[in-house]
Symmetry: D2
Subunit: 112 residues, 4 copies
């Protein structure tokens, strides 16, 4: 991840793109890429989405790459480590969704 963050930073610096890369703008780009990923799956059934053919899988992989790139860039601009942020959130979720009461239910803890 550290290497990716550094590569994305260099990519942006080489092109003098820091001026466009405010956290506000990067959050928009992140949402746009997440939507492009979703677009590939919107008319599929859930089962179909679990078994994409090779061509679709390749497109999805590209979009996952885009989302990861913008997430790394946004986090870097704010001095945040995305993996550390994820680990901390996962710990919070373990409290929020106890195994016993959450098993097999997609309901949020505060709605149980």
């Amino acid at each position: 991840m550290d290497e990716l963050i550094r590569q994305v930073r260099e990519f942006a610096e080489d092109r003098d793109w820091d001026q466009f890369h405010s956290p506000k703008n990067l959050s928009m780009a992140l949402s746009v890429e997440a939507a492009e990923l979703m677009e590939h799956l919107q008319w599929l059934t859930e089962d179909q989405s679990r078994q994409p053919d090779q061509k679709l899988l390749e497109r999805i992989k590209e979009e996952i790459g885009d989302v990861q790139i913008y997430l790394a860039r946004l986090a870097d601009q704010l001095g945040i480590d995305p993996l550390e942020a994820a680990r901390e959130k996962l710990k919070q979720n373990e409290v929020k969704y106890p195994i016993e009461t959450s098993r097999g239910s997609a309901k949020k803890y505060d709605e149980l």
Copy 2:
């Protein structure tokens, strides 16, 4: 990243959530979390978004964690490594956005 992917997988398995975690559903959750991140920045100016106070930064960090978690989970369900996907996309972008013609311009290469 490998460790995060494994932790998220165990978190889902412990709660029997694989049934909800189709790529289709996970792409929706990813978009929703990206939007929640964006919500914190939508009424700020770009400059303000570059200098969040500690409270806002903490909230943004949580949302970055959420996006990273769902991205890792979605990639895992499809057998994709998000960091490898990002590196490959970055290579494509180096061809798509040559330094010389892209410097200081946010225009897409195909619009130049």
Copy 3:
């Protein structure tokens, strides 16, 4: 629609919110509200989403209201009539998706 647009305009003017209502910011707010709507449906099956209970239906109605409000406001800021824009797009779609070749297929015309 004209009445709604006027009401939303007055609502914003009364609060001196025009300064925040740039098309850029409104497009973010529109995406955020669309995501909040989607959040209510993300863990449901398609069949479940066709038969929401009264409580869920009420929540969805509120989010549809939010999306419509921001869409009207964004269109108004740019001098666009959303209903006319929709009618024109529908005409384009009739050419793009001919009945004969589109029947029962969710594929995009350019992918057929």
Copy 4:
């Protein structure tokens, strides 16, 4: 609006698309279209977004049309009138954001 809703319904029925138009799927399509609209504005400054040239304005109008179409279709599938939903939400917002305390502030009422 009633006429648009009827036209969109006929468009879908002619193509036998009701099978794809579950509220879940339509909420995804709505979010995707909202993101495509936002994509046109993500690298612009707020001021630039207030003064789009004719070409950009035309593209934005098409995306506004797409969002309005999917919003009308989603509301129709659930028996909701989008304009009535917007009017009711606007009434709630008048209570939530009193003129006196909201003037010139983008903060949410519950954060004031």
